[in-house]
């Protein structure tokens, strides 16, 4: 059973069998508008929590995507390079950004679950 968590910076992370999949939330893609460019990290890169790891650019602006947790990048979603608009179509599904091999999954406990994230978004709007 995967653990799903959310950051205050509007990333989602799903941890399953030591692999964390990371993307941006549906709320984030709606705020950004039409995504036209995505920059992904290199496979093998070791990242720490809250490190800027990827970039998402909409027609309006560029935003960093921060890693919600420490780990080593094992996969990146190459489909986003040719088809950045996938982020607008399916932000919390097909448009994942990267996968990390995670050593300390407990660190996710500090992040929000879906109910807490939705309350956080509601509060901010």
């Amino acid at each position: 059973m995967a653990t799903e968590r959310f950051t205050k910076d509007h990333e989602w992370v799903r941890l399953d069998a030591g692999i964390a999949t990371v993307g941006i939330t549906d709320h984030a893609q709606r705020q950004l508008g039409d995504v036209v460019f995505v920059e992904l990290p290199e496979v093998g890169r070791k990242v720490v929590a809250s490190e800027a790891v990827a970039v998402v650019e909409s027609v309006k602006a560029a935003s960093d995507v921060f890693s919600p947790i420490a780990g080593e990048v094992t996969h990146v979603n190459g489909e986003l390079i040719g088809q950045p608009a996938l982020v607008n179509e399916d932000a919390e599904g097909k448009a994942w950004f990267f996968k990390l091999k995670v050593v300390d999954g407990v660190a996710l406990d500090a992040l929000m679950d879906r109910a807490a994230y939705e309350a956080f978004v509601k509060e901010g709007s």
Binding site: H10, G33, F37, V65
Partner: protein, 382 residues
């Protein structure tokens, strides 16, 4: 990822504010106003819709000002002391683009100047200036007008723009006089019975009209224009990408008090008599730049890859020396790729010159390209 926080400062609203909210616009602060950045369609589709059919823009935040003098020659001479365009030879119903200049030849603001078509308005000039600059401009102009010429802000007017290949057809149905205007011509005429001042101009590179209307009739006019199936409301986001593709300057970004019109590639807006006679602020610098060339030039730049080079991106030569900075940059929806404008040293401004764009610490390859990125589709005088 970071999303911009909301601002708490009190913002002014245009007479069309309620319309934007009804249409589901996302409102953002811009030049002291709460303005629609996009509607539910989104920036990309709004942009493409404008180029494909027609877009309706609320640009009521812009400053509308009237100069009133005893006759055209007097009012034109007063304004010519502040800018380098030929205003004296403007015919009735003709419009010109120009720039208010400081004593160093830098640009205080860029603006549209229109001589009204009606003989009853002789001695008047209509100015449209940038929202963020209207207080600065009005103070600057008012302090330099001779006795007998007055500046009167038209604060109770809205400004709408209809832009795109369907604009003339849409206006023709409501106002037979409108499609008879050529690019940069203007006249007063009713649109569906609402008295308006219409010019054939805009900020998208497309054919289109800008319509000044009394604030109290703005909503009725807005709704009337939106009745046509081919038109969509368009926000400031697409307005920015449209003008960037058209190679048009945005004040405070591509031009400011440090840039001269010659550096900015706007020498076309200085007519022959003014270039030779001078008599405008900064004439020494500008005449020198016209004769000997400016030190730097505004150019178009295409990054080779997919990554946009935004405003502030450093432009370097391939060997690493600093050439200049991107002043406007983003994704061009009609181009289908990132596009940018910026200033480079004049000897590196030639089309085809390879450059590096420093994006997030990495050098991205690009090249100087001709402006505009998308051909203008204005309707010339026949």
């Amino acid at each position: 990822m970071g999303l911009a926080p909301a601002s708490d400062q009190p913002l002014k609203r245009t007479p069309l504010s309620a319309q934007h909210l009804t249409l589901g616009a996302k409102m953002v602060p811009f030049a002291g106003y709460e303005m629609p950045v996009h509607y539910p369609l989104g920036i990309l589709k709004e942009h493409l819709h404008t180029r494909g059919q027609a877009g309706l823009f609320d640009v009521s935040h812009m400053g509308q000002v009237c100069l009133i003098g005893p006759d055209h020659a007097t009012t034109a001479a007063a304004l010519e002391r502040l800018l380098p365009a030929d205003i004296a030879n403007l015919r009735p119903g003709q419009q010109r683009y120009s720039q208010l200049l400081n004593d160093a030849g830098g640009i205080i603001d860029d603006l549209m100047v229109t001589r009204p078509a009606s003989a009853a308005d002789d001695g008047r000039l209509f100015l449209v200036v940038n929202a963020a600059r209207k207080e600065v401009d009005c103070a600057h102009i008012a302090a330099r007008l001779p006795a007998g010429v007055q500046l009167v802000p038209a604060a109770d007017r809205a400004l709408l723009a209809v832009q795109g290949p369907e604009a003339a057809r849409i206006l023709a149905a409501l106002c037979p006089e409108a499609p008879r205007l050529a690019f940069m011509q203007a006249r007063s005429a009713p649109i569906g019975g609402i008295e308006c001042h219409i010019s054939r101009s805009g900020y998208t590179g497309e054919d289109g009209f800008e319509i000044s209307v009394a604030a109290e009739h703005a909503e009725a006019l807005w709704q009337l224009l939106l009745n046509d199936d081919a038109i969509q409301p368009i926000g400031l986001g697409a307005r920015d990408s449209l003008r960037l593709e058209a190679g048009l300057c945005l004040y405070g970004h591509d031009i400011d008090e440090t840039t001269s019109p010659v550096e900015a590639g706007l020498a076309w807006s200085m007519q022959k008599r003014r270039r030779s006679e001078g008599g405008f602020p900064g004439a020494n610098r500008i005449q020198d730049e016209l004769a000997n060339g400016p030190k730097r030039k505004r150019v178009g730049i295409r990054p080779d890859g997919r990554a946009p080079a935004r405003e502030g991106t450093e432009i370097r030569a391939l060997l690493g020396d600093h050439l200049g900075v991107v002043t406007s940059g983003g994704f061009g929806p009609s181009v289908g790729a990132p596009i940018a404008m910026g200033y480079v040293a004049a000897d590196r401004a030639e089309v085809g010159t390879p450059v590096n764009l420093m994006v997030r610490g990495k050098a991205l390859a690009g090249a100087v390209v001709p402006l505009p990125f998308v051909p203008h589709r204005y309707i010339p005088r026949s």
